[in-house]
Symmetry: C2
Subunit: 331 residues, 2 copies
Amino acid sequence: MTELRQDPFTKDWVIIATERARRPHQLFHVAPRPPEEGPRADCPFCPGNEAMTPAALYEPRDNGTWTVRVFPNKYPALRVEDSPERSFDDGRFIRMGGLGMHEVVVESPHHYHSIDTLPEAQTCEIINALLARFHDLKRDSRIKTLILFKNSGSVAGATIEHPHWQLIGVPVVPPEIRRKYAVASLHFDEMGQNLYRSVIESELRSAERLVLESDHFVALQPYAARVPFETWIFPKAMQTSFGQLHGLAVNDFARVLKRVLAGVVRALGHANYNFVIHTAPFEDEHKSYFVWHLAILPRHSIPAGFELGTGIYINVTRPEETARYLRDVIR
Amino acid sequence: MTELRQDPFTKDWVIIATERARRPHQLFHVAPRPPEEGPRADCPFCPGNEAMTPAALYEPRDNGTWTVRVFPNKYPALRVEDSPERSFDDGRFIRMGGLGMHEVVVESPHHYHSIDTLPEAQTCEIINALLARFHDLKRDSRIKTLILFKNSGSVAGATIEHPHWQLIGVPVVPPEIRRKYAVASLHFDEMGQNLYRSVIESELRSAERLVLESDHFVALQPYAARVPFETWIFPKAMQTSFGQLHGLAVNDFARVLKRVLAGVVRALGHANYNFVIHTAPFEDEHKSYFVWHLAILPRHSIPAGFELGTGIYINVTRPEETARYLRDVIR
């Protein structure tokens, strides 16, 4: 079966072509789960090697050792010392200084671990570290939005194996995010509804792409999933900003993330994936057009010429089927 | 030096962060050029194995053997038998049938070859095959645009090693292409100029990102290059559609492509890359807002969480420097 589906949030198309899964090459780049071992001498994120990174910005301790460690990226994409000044060469080439922040959040002292097997309390530590940095970085009004993400596995773009997140604060609202707001604003103007809330409610009713529902969260696979097993986790409180996450919901978020990832790992092996937290730009947090969410994107085939030329992804699975699989293994 | 640059055609931002090139991991996934060998028994694109693929749609012959071979993709993303009918589940989930075409163009009978060392006459054969299929597929008015691309190397998404192109005809105008037209239309309304022509003329004047100029083509690196050595080849005749390429310009295009790719290979080794031909949607060909072009995208780091979350690429080189390098080695 082959069809095109339109993402209700971006209006981008995805091709669902299940027959392509029959192609004679591996569906997923599956890496075996590495053995548990002690700290590695050459890993800049392992305990004992703290001098290999910039000084910590956040480093809670338990029994004398840090549990999570946040520091500025040694090779930053953007820097807090730069200016956001713009110049307009020849009236058409617009550039601005590389102002921003780029931080690393090391998930735990253990070189080999994964959120699906990590104790929930440790995942709470990670989420609290992300929240602490979110609140601190947001105070700089030159920054328009913050991207929180994790690259796991070399196929997903990780260059250091020790599990870590990155936070990048950017001095512009990325056009891709503007476009989502344009779609959501139009929906609000036409229907008087928050588009994200409407879709989540509709997904809860039909339940065919639902993965998991907890006290505070809903995990579901998007209608126009770009890759097999793409899964989004939304707060039921329908907050616009990740910064509004607090209290018992933090623990629930840790639990849901662990269960969903365990299901994905069960399906795909210790796969390569990205986590991306989508949150409202700071100046749009008060507009209830959006709901923040964490997207899990397992890395299947490599986006190539077709995706680069059109923005259209080709997914070889139907999210209804992969969601059912996850529901079954998670239950 | 770190700065943000805005792409004048899409308004997307790119971060140019040259210090990140110092990171302790390989800049490029460089594969050595494979040895020249005979046909391979297990390759579906090698001579003698024609029965492993669908029947040819285009297959010019010289001395009894085919020179280039075009056939439908055995595992198509879209199919010509499908309907373009739409349905609107729950008023918000829009889908349509998987109508389209997906063809493969095998570049030559040789399993191991590369356009930078291939005889120019053979590259003309390839371009003529692309043009022949373009004109034929365009006759189906249900197809809105055609994407012509080549994935070279596994890091660039190639699943079969034998060099080949793909053509995908889609029944929608991809939103990414609509957005480019929206930017170009606004520019025309404000300035009375074709944005692409204006930028090309400005690049020819400044020459700092110019790679090569021939009788019929200009090769340059875009101001907001997304990856190191990204290079675009534009026709000086400023045509909107690849389908307008003809006559002596075909030979010149083959020559320019060969010289530019030879420079890229000299810089990066036998690197992984994508070619993408950007051409006007069929119904927009008569509007002079656009200029068709071939984009060469060497594959550097893997787009990961940040790019997925923002659409912002991080490039560790300045196009002015990589263009100067190419000018020097190509001269």
